[in-house]
């Protein structure tokens, strides 16, 4: 089994490491700035042009021979997998919960049914990100094999020129002319709109901030720091933040690297949703509240004034 990982500007898609682990450590990493990915295993790095499912499929089809291929069910993986399957004439099994050489568990009915499928011969599968995890045993298995080849694949801009393709698709009427849309921009994540679950930095506020205006200010500061905005239940109940920004047992469970808590008391129902941040900064007038007790840096100060100062200093 081998994993195929599409990389954009060196950024791995969700579920990349899981896919490689599921494939037993072998992977083709294809995309742009592939040399900078942080992924261990026996990797073949293929530097290619900007992502285009048809072009990438054509490029890859020739390298994949008689062994199952597994891609993360991330946007690019989902796009590429059917194209690959069609070119190779192999069955597609997607989205999968677990992938074995002869048996795949496919998820159906919006995650309520699991179909166990037996398959003879090679296939293409996509693996749902986040369901597998990667353990110590996986990296041991991988490190025992050497990391291999880096290659650069000269590739025309996703284009209209026909490309010679090795494959066995008899039915695709025009499989030999892979066309892809034209990529005009890659937009970075917007911390203010991205899901809190994915955020690596979070600025959050509590009851002590007291108004929508303050949360808007906190949001701006967050944007300047590349951090997403969150808050306590008090804040979401009051309507200062939307519900999907509430962190805690009855809100979302987050897992940021850095957490900044402004005027949050740190009730268990809030902190239980915090994950395990490497760093916590708390600003609170009450030196002895649990949030301050949890923080690496606990600053006793008026949170509103600190926000004003932060905004000034960040715009200076």
């Amino acid at each position: 089994m081998i994993a195929v990982i599409v990389v954009r500007e060196g950024q791995l898609p969700a579920g990349a490491a899981e896919c490689v682990a599921e494939a037993g450590g072998r992977a083709i990493v294809i995309g742009t700035e592939v040399h900078s990915v942080e992924l261990s295993g026996a990797l073949t790095l293929v530097e290619a042009g900007p992502f285009g499912p048809a072009a990438y499929a054509a490029l890859l089809a020739g390298r994949l021979v008689d062994e199952p291929v597994i891609l993360p069910a991330s946007p690019d993986g989902r796009d590429l997998a059917p194209r690959l399957a069609a070119l190779l004439g192999w069955p597609l099994l997607a989205p999968a919960l677990a992938v074995g050489v002869h048996s795949v568990q496919v998820v159906r009915q919006n995650g309520r049914i699991l179909e166990e499928v037996a398959v003879d011969g090679p296939f293409v599968a996509t693996l749902l990100p986040g369901v597998r995890g990667v353990g110590a045993a996986d990296s041991m298995a991988r490190d025992s094999e050497p990391v291999v080849a880096r290659e650069s694949q000269p590739m025309a801009a996703p284009g209209r020129e026909p490309m010679a393709v090795r494959g066995s698709d008899a039915r695709g009427p025009s499989a030999a002319t892979p066309n892809d849309p034209e990529l005009i921009a890659l937009l970075p994540p917007d911390p203010s709109t991205m899901s809190l679950v994915e955020a690596t930095r979070i600025v959050a506020g509590g009851q002590g901030l007291g108004s929508t205006v303050r949360f808007e200010q906190l949001g701006r500061i967050g944007a300047a720091l590349g951090a997403s905005l969150g808050g306590t239940r008090v804040a979401s109940d009051a309507g200062w933040i939307p519900f999907e920004r509430q962190i805690g047992t009855t809100g979302v469970a987050v897992n940021p690297r850095v957490y900044l808590a402004f005027a949050i008391s740190g009730a268990t129902q809030h902190t239980s949703g915090l994950g395990d941040p490497a760093h916590i900064i708390a600003v609170n007038t009450d030196a002895s509240c649990p949030m301050m007790a949890m923080a690496d840096i606990a600053i006793v100060s008026d949170a509103k004034a600190v926000l004003d100062a932060l905004e000034r200093q960040l715009s200076a």
Binding site: T250, T268, C289, P290
Partner: protein, 651 residues
């Protein structure tokens, strides 16, 4: 279904179907009398069944007369137990809830005190707690043990149980066999893992034969004993595979630690992060396909849901969560999270009372263990009274809740801007926030019962009488006291509360001596706060152990570890005799020697005095007045809650 995709979905456990994934997992209750289950058991389990538990597993039933480690054990091997079993299973079945019995032989983790028979174990390795050298069992005795399990399993079947769980984890002769630390045998029951697991497989076969195919059979395994040479996760996974391979077991329950060595990881207190033990079901579930149970500090439905969603386990055991609130499941399912009386993981009245040989209770639920005596819905008083409560600590709040739930009209006056009294501060230190949930729980109930709460409103006798209440309940708590050697004006001799409220601020680098006469969290909490701040801290106690009562709540081990990491000095057997402004004179009473101890600050964790002035003033004026909690005599939260609860019913 809402936010719960898995928690409330049914599951088949062999022949039994559970309606949700929450198990009231096995735990001692000390409700037994003369080796038999009681009405107290039946009512206790029934309350959890009515509260929505998906499955109940009873406390252990002993399988053999050589097994009697504590007084109030159910002697499952007597046929006499069957009527009691029936009473329990009928009560639980009334609510459509299945119930399994846990059966066990504690092996070497016992003393001969009660049984006056030698303790049996695989090898003559004394238990670290009981320190008694057991008798290494013979092969014939092993057969007797196996037969004992089968006998008791048969009793369980006759008693109406839906299944049987073999306790092979933290306190069991089977654990003793499985563990390399306690099994030194060289026959077919020792040596290789397969040999060490032989007795378990034999028991599985015998029990399955005794119960037939209609009952479920489960095995509870320990994933990491956390003792030198003990079972670790890899071995546990292997054993789980062997268990599954018998084809006769329907689920695997998990646990961690050894009850007589590392109990603090089994019934972990609030210092231990939730989800700490999930790696065990996780590893086992990856290796077997029968349902696996995860246990350990599940106190929130969503947390449980997440564990299920990530596949760490198929079911969760939530023990203390349901000790504290029997309706935990029902409330979660109804979305009434707010109404849940969250367990604090304080271990004071559940685990704590087990250690003291008393029946199981809960610090914040006075009805726990008294379900058969106290109706679930309080009766309304025929003559509603106007009740005035002074003080919104745990005592005052509980009194108000209780009075209001009996139909009285209640107003609470509190001097501070927030409720909670001393508890607010007790909970304000690292890792103790959960203690504060008792206040949240109570405050929520106050609101639900329509109690009027006046914060920031200290009252005196004049004010109280002017309100013309029918009854006054004084719950003014305790106030710090100073020992004779501490001058009243010495500003560097302060109380623990002064440090927690911030009214005294020993700065980083200061030398601080904490004088501990209470032996509980007061001294240790403050010591940690100050050590974190950068003070050099020493706790001085007249007792033989610093913070002795942390042992009861299973906080001792982790406190000692943290104290060592934070360089907190622990000094025992020492009595302060005087202070000269820079030094304390300390008597080491064991050696009867004096020495001087230089210090910048002295923090007192000494017995406070009851703040009872208001009570006596009102009494003198002929007002109908009662008092509850620390203002009767300074004690702990459980006393405050129980007294508060009683007074409401008695008005």
């Amino acid at each position: 279904m809402g936010r719960y995709r898995y928690l409330f979905s049914p599951l088949r456990i062999g022949p039994v179907t559970v309606r949700n994934r929450v198990i009231f997992s096995a735990h001692l209750t000390n409700y037994a009398e003369d080796g038999l289950a009681t009405e107290q058991h039946a009512a206790y389990y029934e309350a959890r069944a009515a509260g929505g538990a998906g499955l109940i597993i009873t406390e252990e039933h002993s399988t053999h007369p050589t097994d009697w480690p504590y007084e109030k054990l159910i002697h499952g091997f007597h046929r006499k137990v069957i009527p009691g079993y029936r009473r329990i299973t009928d009560a639980v079945h009334r609510h459509g809830t299945p119930i399994f019995a846990q059966i066990n032989h504690n092996g070497g983790q016992a003393s001969s005190m009660y049984s006056r028979l030698p303790v049996w174990a695989p090898s003559a390795v004394p238990d670290p707690l009981f320190r008694e050298v057991p008798k290494a069992v013979t092969v014939r005795e092993i057969a007797e043990i196996v037969a004992g399990y089968a006998l008791v399993a048969g009793h369980c079947r006759e008693g109406g149980f839906d299944g049987v769980e073999l306790q092979c984890s933290h306190s069991s002769i089977v654990r003793g066999f499985l563990s390399g630390a306690t099994n030194l045998r060289r026959d077919q029951y020792g040596g290789s893992l397969a040999n060490r697991a032989r007795i378990l497989i034999e028991i599985v076969r015998a029990v399955r034969e005794a119960i037939g195919p209609g009952l479920a059979l489960g095995v509870r395994l320990c994933g990491d004993e956390l003792i030198e040479g003990g079972t670790t996760i890899d071995e546990a996974v292997e054993v789980a595979k062997m268990v599954e391979a018998t084809g006769q077991v329907d689920y695997i329950n998990t646990s961690i630690g050894v009850a007589t060595a590392t109990l603090y990881v089994i019934e972990a207190s609030m210092h231990v992060p939730p989800g700490y033990a999930l790696f065990i079901p996780n590893a086992i579930r990856r290796a077997v396909s029968i349902p696996v149970v995860g246990v350990g500090r599940f106190k929130d439905a969503l947390q449980a849901e997440r564990a299920l969603a990530e596949g760490h386990c198929d079911l969760v055991g939530a023990v203390r969560a349901q000790i504290a609130d029997p309706d935990f499941v029902r409330k979660a399912q109804a979305g009434a999270h707010e109404d849940t009386r969250l367990c604090l993981s304080c271990n004071q009245e559940c685990v704590g009372r087990m250690g003291l040989n008393r029946w199981l209770g809960c610090i914040e639920n006075p009805r726990t263990g008294r379900e058969a005596l106290v109706p679930a819905v309080p009766s309304r008083s025929p003559v509603p009274k106007k009740v005035l409560v002074v003080g919104a600590g745990p005592a005052g709040m509980q009194a108000a809740i209780s009075a209001a739930s009996h139909g009285h009209e209640v107003t609470v006056y509190e001097r501070d801007d927030e409720v909670g009294g001393q508890v607010r501060w007790a909970a304000s230190v690292p890792n103790r926030a959960e203690l504060g949930d008792v206040l949240r729980n109570q405050q929520r109930e106050l609101v639900a019962h329509g109690v009027k709460l006046c914060l920031g409103h200290g009252v005196d006798a004049g004010f109280v009488t002017a309100q013309k209440p029918d009854v006054v309940i004084v719950a003014t708590g305790a106030a710090p006291a100073r020992p004779y050697w501490a001058p009243g004006d010495a500003s560097t001799i302060v109380d623990v509360l002064d440090v927690l409220t911030g009214s005294a601020w020993p700065p980083a680098g200061a030398r601080v001596v904490i004088v501990d006469e209470l032996g509980f969290h007061q001294a240790t909490s403050v010591a940690e706060v100050l050590a974190d701040r950068g003070c050099s801290v020493e706790i001085l106690t007249n007792g033989m152990v610093v913070a002795q009562d942390l042992g009861i709540t299973l906080d001792m081990e982790n406190f000692l570890t943290r104290a060592a990491a934070k360089s907190i000095i622990l000094t025992t057997d020492s009595v302060v005799m005087g202070w000269n402004g820079t030094h304390l004179s300390v008597l080491h009473h064991v050696s009867n020697t004096m020495h001087e101890l230089a210090t910048d600050w002295v923090v007192l964790a000494v017995a406070p005095r009851a703040a009872d002035e208001l009570y006596f003033e009102l009494l003198a004026q002929g007002v109908t007045v009662h008092r509850v909690g620390d203002c009767v005599a300074p004690r702990r939260i459980h006393a405050a809650v129980i007294e508060g609860d009683r007074i409401g019913a008695a008005l």
